[in-house]
């Protein structure tokens, strides 16, 4: 019986949506555009995350040796690094190489020429086996204590900045989703209020014929859910269209930076979440509206 009545209510809701196509279309567009903003933000964020993962140089530790470190000291450190379990790979950068590289830089060449002797120390770059920030910091501290090592520097600043940036992005998307979610509830609230007014005669008659509150609410509730769902589909299409449109220009840009990157559409999980949230918000808006506008008549 409940199933029959639900099916009837769903059909009735769909019929009411189709009965005023212009109103429905405008409502669905309003909801769709509102949802497309956070959904699009999520799409861009997911891509940014992907880009960050693929193009960040693996974090490494630089060991700068004392200026008076001799060949023996270097061999000694080399040996220790070779046997250290926390070290995945390492490389020696001799001070002569650093000097040559710096001289090649036009702005610095004159300055370096003016110096009496090579100001750069020998250095090692170390790739840690474990790239969690805490583990790397511990390794850097440990390596910094080796004799003739002047300073151990952790090059994870860029990764940290990126992570901080992504965190801001994620918060922004969340904030936008919250605001527009509230907006969506407000939109449905108002649409359902109009629906209740339009169907006042039918509601009154149904009550007189013995309809329970649940029976009367059901089609309006489904109306809200269907409206939200349709809005979610529109939002998804807007994001998919934008992805398709941006893909060419972004690939071009990526190529100029010699990055291997192409824009991906909204992930399946995100798409399903978008539709579910849209339908749920539509239902919540309808419920709120119904409890206000169907209370006592």
């Amino acid at each position: 019986m409940w199933l029959h009545q639900s099916g009837d209510a769903l059909r009735l809701a769909a019929r009411r949506l189709i009965a005023s196509p212009v109103n429905t279309l405008l409502s669905v567009l309003a909801i769709g555009v509102a949802l497309a903003l956070p959904a699009g933000g999520q799409m861009l964020l997911a891509n940014a995350l992907q880009l960050a993962r693929n193009s960040t140089p693996a974090p490494q530790i630089s060991l700068f040796l004392d200026l008076d470190a001799d060949k023996r000291a270097i061999r000694d450190i080399d040996g220790r690094l070779k046997n250290h379990p926390g070290v995945k790979a390492y490389r020696l950068i001799p001070r002569e190489d650093t000097l040559a590289r710096m001289k090649a830089n036009e702005g610095l060449a004159d300055v370096i020429e003016a110096l009496p002797k090579n100001p750069f120390p020998d250095a090692f770059t170390v790739l840690p086996a474990d790239d969690r920030p805490e583990a790397m910091e511990q390794l850097a501290a440990e390596l910094g204590k080796l004799s003739k090592v002047a300073h151990a520097q952790l090059d994870s600043d860029w990764a940290r900045r990126m992570a901080a940036l992504l965190k801001i992005g994620r918060t922004g998307v969340l904030l936008m989703a919250l605001l527009l979610g509230v907006g969506l509830i407000a939109i449905t609230f108002n649409i359902i209020r109009l629906q209740v007014t339009t169907h006042r005669a039918e509601i009154e008659l149904s009550r007189l014929l013995g309809a329970t509150d649940a029976f009367i609410r059901r089609p309006f509730h489904y109306f809200g859910v269907l409206l939200g769902l349709a809005g979610g589909i529109v939002a998804w299409m807007i994001v998919a269209g934008a992805t398709w449109w941006l893909r060419g220009p972004i690939s071009e840009l990526a190529q100029l930076y010699s990055l291997e990157f192409s824009l991906r559409p909204l992930a399946l999980v995100d798409s399903i979440a978008l539709l579910a949230v849209a339908a749920a918000l539509g239902g919540i808006g309808a419920s709120l509206s119904l409890s206000k506008h169907l209370r006592d008549d």
Binding site: H4, Q5, L208, L209, G210, T212, F215
Partner: protein
């Protein structure tokens, strides 16, 4: 079936629509409530259908006090009641079949059985051939008969009708009156508010004047 016990209804600020009404209707009876418009006929029907609560006395239907019913109990009670409203209250965006189907949908009838019942009800009032027609395409008499079909489709044992023959030409009015007599003949209790009780010569007559029984 119906027991009205010293019932009165006062609307604010102090208008007495009904004062101290008492009568009983036995199962299977046909009763008309006559009187001029404004005499309180509609108010009396509204008390019996729990659309209004009495401000004094009691109205009992099937032994239940309609004035002290819980709000949530009213729907289930109304399902055993057939009501023909004065303004008919047909839904103009649904066809004849769907209008009559509504009470059965509300009470959760299985669709196949409901469909048979709707057709039986439409057949009873002579509208079986017009089930796809929208109410706006029906004549006044047909609309009234449609309203009756909707009132009886759930086979209630009490049928209330508020001025069912008003605004109909004499021939159509006689037609509609005959339908009520047919329901009475199969054991349905019928209570009709009408200014013209000559259409129901066999009925027990109650007459209201200024909110009091004559």
């Amino acid at each position: 079936m119906i027991k009205v016990d010293h019932a009165s209804k006062r609307y604010p600020p102090g208008f007495d629509a009904l004062s101290d009404i008492s009568f009983e209707v036995a199962a299977g009876e046909l009763v008309t409530v006559g009187g001029h418009s404004g005499a309180g006929k509609s108010t009396l029907l509204k008390l019996i259908a729990a659309m209004e609560r009495p401000t004094g006395g009691a109205v009992l239907v099937h032994g239940q006090n309609m004035g002290s019913l819980k709000r949530t109990a009213i729907p289930y009670l109304r399902r055993n009641l057939g009501i023909v409203f004065q303004d008919q209250k047909l839904l103009f965006d649904r066809n004849a079949f769907e209008n009559v189907m509504l009470p059965l949908t509300i009470s959760g009838f299985p669709p196949a059985e409901a469909q048979r019942r709707v057709q039986a009800a439409l057949d009873k009032v002579g509208l079986l051939g017009r089930q796809k027609a929208m109410p706006i395409m029906l004549s006044g008499g047909e609309q009234q008969r449609l309203a009756i079909a909707r009132a009886v489709v759930s086979r209630p044992n009490l049928l209330l009708a508020d001025e069912p023959t008003a605004h109909l030409d004499p021939e159509t009015a006689a037609d509609v009156a005959r339908i009520f007599l047919e329901f009475r003949a199969v054991g349905v209790t019928v209570l009709i508010a009408t200014y013209d009780d000559s259409l129901f010569p066999d009925a027990r007559r109650l007459v209201l004047a200024q909110g009091r029984l004559q």
